[in-house]
Symmetry: C2
Subunit: 267 residues, 2 copies
């Protein structure tokens, strides 16, 4: 079983909730990688017997630390319309909310379509060297990361970089066919923009992440195990929080998702 | 009383919920303007006795139509940390969820700060003519809108526009000092990007909106009744949904909020 699928195993309980366990493979410096937590919430909604369609929008709020160990997820459809469905979900440990989420699911249909933003001019993934795993942080070993620009900064250089933008090819390691759970986690692979902007280690953590899914299930299935291109930038740092906006593109230049975060930092 | 304040009057009930009533002044074609609904949810959280700090992030999901008439809002702090607080809220009519929301509130502190995106080169608000109100849609009469570019399209022209970007100076009409509620509503003033992109009327409605607040209360108080500059663009239209990203800037070039939406459209 792929480590991502192993991390996303959820056991239905009698009361409508599901239980799971954090995965050492996706451990961050403290607690799990936020992307795997977001994917867990998507998985809980996707596995719910009342689910309609596929994810269109997801917001995950990291309310408190997630401890290594068991957790429960309660996902509830708040309202089901003809073609859309609104969800709330909470991940709890010891009865306390650690993560809250809302999502919109829906059934998509063919319409006029247009992408208003451009796929960046980048070399093919195979032409970009893969980053060696960052030794101490387990989850980074679960991703192949090929930085086109804005790679993980060398803090020993000690100079501020004017540009907090990262462009990278990325995929699950080992490769795994793309689906909504893995795309969700990939949206959180970007390291905190403040590392790049200031070139100094700074305590930082995502407070809230939103994803808009542009891909539907057939598009993800067609993508398979190819790498995706991620582009992330910061907008405003101030008074302890900054926001990040990012896109995740298919290898063929189709936009799979746009995603936004607000991130805590401590100067 | 300013029409915005009148629209946001909420009556505490014994059970922790509050009740309100839609305002004819902020009526949209069907039901209320989405911005006033979002502001109502912020107001319910801000008025809660357990509230800590000010809004940092807000996500509002428009789950179903809001009918003209009374509604109840249940806002609940899910978790309170030392300097942040996580909320959920739901607006109900006849017992059914019409709108769901999550928010992060927090206490901000001085840190290193930087804005990574630029305030656009625009003429001062006073040099841009104000749009006459759109007769049939009540809420547009509650805003002064001075379009620098990307104004409301003339559908009779019948040609597609390549650019779905709007830049406008906007403020409450009559002018009202800026606060979190009015800033929240201003984040939804942008008309659907598909109107501009295709130059044809298309049924469209916001499904989910997220706001990241960069302003704190003193910054909003200092802004007063000056107009704010809004810039909105579309990213991807496809299979019935598009996403919009926007910024709201203070008159002096400080970033007040960044905001994102996913919007339903029917071709």
């Amino acid at each position: 079983m792929h480590p991502l699928d192993a991390a996303l195993v959820l056991q239905p309980e009698g009361d409508g909730s599901v239980t799971g366990h954090t995965s050492p493979a996706y451990a961050n410096m403290i607690g799990p990688f936020g992307g795997i937590t977001a994917a867990t919430l998507v998985q809980a909604m996707r596995g719910h017997p009342a689910r309609l369609g596929e994810p269109l929008a997801l917001t995950v709020n990291y309310a408190g630390p997630v401890a290594d160990g068991p957790f429960s997820v309660q996902a509830e459809p708040l309202r089901t319309n003809r073609s859309t469905q609104h969800w709330r979900a909470e991940l709890r440990q010891d009865g306390q909310v650690a993560v809250s989420a809302t999502a919109v699911f829906g059934v998509r249909r063919e319409t006029w379509a247009s992408t208003e933003i451009g796929f960046p001019a980048v070399p093919a993934a195979g032409a970009v060297p893969a980053l060696p795993p960052l030794g101490r942080v387990a989850w980074t070993r679960q991703y192949e990361m090929r930085f086109v620009s804005g790679g993980f900064p060398d803090f020993s250089q000690g100079r501020a970089d004017a540009d907090a933008t990262t462009t990278l090819w990325m995929r699950d390691e080992p490769p795994r066919p793309l689906d909504f759970a893995s795309l969700t986690a990939l949206c959180d692979v970007f390291f905190p923009r403040i590392y790049l902007r200031r070139r100094q280690w700074t305590p930082a953590g995502t407070v809230s992440m939103t994803i808009y899914f542009h891909a539907d299930a057939p598009m993800l299935a067609a993508h398979g195990t190819q790498p995706v291109l991620g582009v992330a930038r910061a907008q405003r740092f101030g008074k302890g929080f900054f926001d990040q906006s990012a896109e995740v593109w298919a290898h063929d230049g189709a936009l799979l998702a746009s995603t936004h975060q607000i991130v805590y930092y401590k100067e």
